[in-house]
Symmetry: C2
Subunit: 268 residues, 2 copies
Amino acid sequence: MNFLEKYNRAVRENNSLLCVGLDSDLSRLPECLKKEKNPILTFNREIIEATKDLVCAYKPNAAFYESAGKAGFEAWEALSGMVGPIPLIADVKRGDIGNTASHYARALFEANSFDAATINPLMGQDTIEPFLAFEGVYLFLLGLTSNDSARDFEYTGGLYKKIARKTVCWNEKFGHRLGLVVGATKPGELKRIRKIASKEVFLIPGIGTQGGDLRRTIAAGYSGKEGNMVINVSRSILFAGKGSDFAEKARREAMQYRDMINKAREEI
Amino acid sequence: MNFLEKYNRAVRENNSLLCVGLDSDLSRLPECLKKEKNPILTFNREIIEATKDLVCAYKPNAAFYESAGKAGFEAWEALSGMVGPIPLIADVKRGDIGNTASHYARALFEANSFDAATINPLMGQDTIEPFLAFEGVYLFLLGLTSNDSARDFEYTGGLYKKIARKTVCWNEKFGHRLGLVVGATKPGELKRIRKIASKEVFLIPGIGTQGGDLRRTIAAGYSGKEGNMVINVSRSILFAGKGSDFAEKARREAMQYRDMINKAREEI
């Protein structure tokens, strides 16, 4: 089953647009897991077990796995065996010339079994195509990011709007395999991007710790009943509890986010 | 010793601006290595042994290690123990929000011992700063890349020139820790970027398989006797031979590139 099918099914069955960001920072894991053979792997398993009926996707960010050496590598490799029918988005923000990009793609979709990935589009079309060679996978191109310094380059010559327009063009060419990452911290721009890319799936970071406004985000980017948004929350859910009840607390937090998102969907 | 010191010493001692790109694609390694416990690791060791007096740096690209699973991970981890005094540039093109970037930085400079890294600057200053928290490391920001599709976004609103100008600003602020990646396939633009960034070290891909013109590149970007260019060649050197004499053939090819570069330096 391809990413979009898995995603749409999870949206429907779990009645959720919430994505849990598995940014499983080794240094922040609950004390009670420190003795585990691989604390990251155990943490992920418990978080997934506690939230799998509340989400439309999981999104691990590679940085937190790369910084943890061998334990991180093993936990990263184990992810796709843990999530069952929920789609798994590799947040890697890769982007490189064709020959190299095809190796990044193989790492994600051949050596591993991710359903989707985030891609940095700066280097253009020939750096994106090698990922599309893998059937059924979906790519989220960085459209407009949630951080303050997005202003340094992403607005230059209307760059973020150009990326959105190109994404729409490429989708016509490549059969609707591309979405956009758009930060929740900039709802005005999110609205403009939605006008350009009306059917694309948006991956939305910036809710939770980063302070994005959920209701304004939904109002700006959600376009009806179709599942066209993946709203990511990482730290606020993962680290809601520090004790042995961390998974239960994560579940409670995830449920609150899911419900807040659904309430905001109903209100628009 | 920081990156710039190591780099300048290697330039002087080896009389070389050549960087060998350790893009050690498992599927292209010589047949005779296939029985090794870790063919990538053995290949790297032999290539380094055969070229270490001919280069100013080594630049492994992470994609070729990530696509090779566990063997790739182990070979990547082993690199910094193999290169001796030659500086090692991690070609990773990472870029992410601050908290995540600091984990990418830890993966490279704490869990591992790279001297420098390539960074995708799209997301701006706050995604670059966490890397600079590691003393002595040097970062090459993507300025203008060597691929055809660089035209999709890198020229938008003069973006590549803006990146060069920002790099110069940041260098004044952060103490000259940033260089630029500029493809050899665009010597006209390289000249314009050199006018903006006169003192920055340029990492130049695109010579060799990609077809960039060495003499025009040197004429456009080399500014005198200082070592201000790292000219990368990957595939043409690594895979010069397919038999058991692969290291010897790589050495011969590397020597030719080093000498061609030096001839072009003398001619300007």
